[in-house]
């Protein structure tokens, strides 16, 4: 079984302080980490490989520093890693990102299963996984809770819904996005971490994956940010409730009720 895991490097929250004016937490300085939801995707891919044999390829798109996210995937047990890294990819929205990743998956060839994390914590859109599936004409299951049966041509999964779950049979090749309840990602051993750091990670350009340059990057992206603004400031006045316990409790319940919180 050939499995591709799509992963993303995202900014992690740095140290936090409280802004005395707005009472909001301000995070200072940030470094990059592997998107936390993608850890579950990598872990699930490696577990399927351990059960069924095959190979796991970690795929990402981003600046050269995104290699670090791929190294983490390799340390956890992915066999190979590829990075789409070129100016032409820069500024891609979720549509153009899905396009680029789908072309890379086509290029890898004979892929049975694509696994993504349920969403990336920087954008929180959850759009890239289904976007890839639609471009590759693959069956998809988003928010997968467990992968139950794996055969050469199909996959049975439990997919979360709002009242429980659905049991789905997907014909391969297919794409799934996984939620964090699916597994507990392993922590790499020092031995595997050292081996991972010695692996070569090829950097791929649009031509290497046969992508149409007119469908990549900011210029080809259907959505465009036209304005940014700070969010509404948190109501910073504290309402102090005093008095005996009974009175205070009644005052609180009244207040919550008038704010529509009960």
């Amino acid at each position: 079984m050939k499995i591709v895991v799509c992963i993303k490097q995202v900014p992690s929250a740095g140290d936090a302080k409280i802004d005395p004016e707005t009472k909001r937490i301000v995070r200072e300085g940030s470094k990059s980490v592997l998107n936390p939801f993608d850890l579950y995707a990598v872990e699930e891919a490696v577990r399927i490989k351990e059960r069924k044999g095959g190979e796991v390829i970690a795929l990402s798109m981003g600046p050269e520093s995104a290699k670090n996210a791929l190294i983490e995937a390799l340390s956890m047990g992915a066999d190979d890693a590829l990075l789409l890294c070129d100016r032409a990819f820069a500024g891609s929205d979720t549509w153009a990102t899905s396009y680029a990743l789908s072309k890379a998956i086509e290029k890898i060839g004979d892929v049975d299963l694509v696994i993504c994390g349920k969403q990336a914590i920087d954008g929180d859109t959850a759009q890239v996984g289904p976007g890839i599936a639609s471009k590759l004409g693959m069956m998809q299951a988003a928010n997968v809770l467990s992968v139950d049966a794996v055969s050469a041509d199909s996959l049975t999964v439990k997919r979360m819904n709002e009242r429980g779950y659905d049991v789905l049979r997907l014909k391969l090749p297919a794409l799934i996005t996984v939620v964090k309840d699916i597994n507990f990602p392993r922590i790499p051993t020092l031995r595997n971490a050292r081996i991972a750091r010695k692996k070569e990670i090829p950097l791929l350009k649009p031509a290497d994956i046969g992508a149409d340059p007119d469908k990549l990057g900011l210029a080809a992206s259907p959505t465009r940010v036209v304005k940014t603004a700070p969010p509404a400031v948190r109501e910073s006045a504290t309402l102090n409730i005093a008095g005996g316990s009974g009175e205070a409790a009644a005052a609180l319940v009244n207040e919550l009720s008038s704010r529509g919180l009960l």
């Binding site: 936390p36 670090n68 340390s75 507990f184 922590i187 051993t189 020092l190 031995r191 050292r194 750091r197």
Partner: protein, 269 residues
């Protein structure tokens, strides 16, 4: 057995982080520090995912790099953020290496770190595994380990002494305090209450005293003046019967001074 922990210094060292971008360099540095501490006859205290930041395990580094150690002079921190399988592996590997000194702490978690469940350590009557349950489990399953525990003089006093009692009942045989920077009444009381219990005092070796704000529970200004070596010397006078655990020790300038202090102390004794 107990006296081991009080003589000389404990030097804290932190294994390379999982996300290190210069892992080989960090490993070489870790090995050289460990070798240097061994040469000085100090105890090397190796942390376990300190601050919830993912790092490699001390025993892994020792094994993988084949570092020559004096196992009696190694203290491995062990927190409650592991899978059961991982816990057993750590204990087995420590035994293989001849390392029998552990410091059991609750530790810092993160979403990336699994938490031991009560059933993993045969604990009942608790909702979460703390250093008490961990200590009890290790002492029961692997009685050959010496298990130390933490003591925090900044917690409400009655609460902390009651917790210490439970830790000692669980089988802990030595104590390491949170950092203090002057004679501390609660620590005095600890020594008085348990005259036979080896107590090691953590001494803060960084000039950045404000980093202790969260530990002590009140804000220390960022520009607070602090002389770590001078403070350590005073603490040694105040607590001649205690060992000292040196955290954030500078290996370039502070370490040679500590070596001199150890030599003077040895000469005195």
């Amino acid at each position: 057995m107990a006296e081991r922990h009080i003589e000389g210094y404990h030097v804290e060292i932190i294994p390379p982080k999982q996300d290190s971008q210069k892992l080989e360099e960090d490993l070489a540095l870790f090995a050289s520090k460990l070798t240097r501490i061994r040469g000085s006859g100090f105890m090397a205290s190796i942390t376990d995912n300190a601050m919830g930041l993912l790092a490699f395990q001390g025993h892994e580094c020792i094994e993988e790099l084949g570092i020559d150690i004096d196992p009696d002079k190694i203290l491995i921190h062990l927190n409650t953020f592991h899978t059961k399988q991982n816990l057993e592996e750590i204990l087995d590997e420590c035994r293989k290496l001849g390392i029998f000194n552990l410091l059991a702490i609750s530790g810092d978690g993160s979403t990336r770190l699994p938490k031991l469940r009560p059933e993993d350590v045969d604990a009942t009557g608790t909702a979460s595994v703390t250093s008490v349950e961990l200590t009890r489990y290790i002492r029961k399953r692997y009685p050959e380990f010496n298990v130390g525990v933490a003591f925090n003089p900044y917690e409400p006093e009655a609460h902390e002494f009651e917790k210490l009692k439970r830790k000692l009942n669980a089988g802990a045989s030595f104590v390491i305090t949170q950092p203090i920077i002057e004679k501390n009444a609660i620590v005095d009381k600890l020594i008085e209450m348990y005259p036979d219990l080896p107590v090691t005092i953590e001494a803060w070796m960084s000039k950045k005293l404000y980093l202790l704000s969260d530990v002590v529970g009140y804000p220390i200004p960022e520009d607070a003046e602090f002389d770590p070596i001078g403070t350590l010397k005073q603490l040694e006078k105040d607590y001649p019967q205690c060992g000292f655990y040196l955290s954030l020790l500078g290996f370039k300038t502070q370490y040679p001074v500590i070596e001199e202090m150890a030599a003077e102390r040895a000469a005195r004794e």
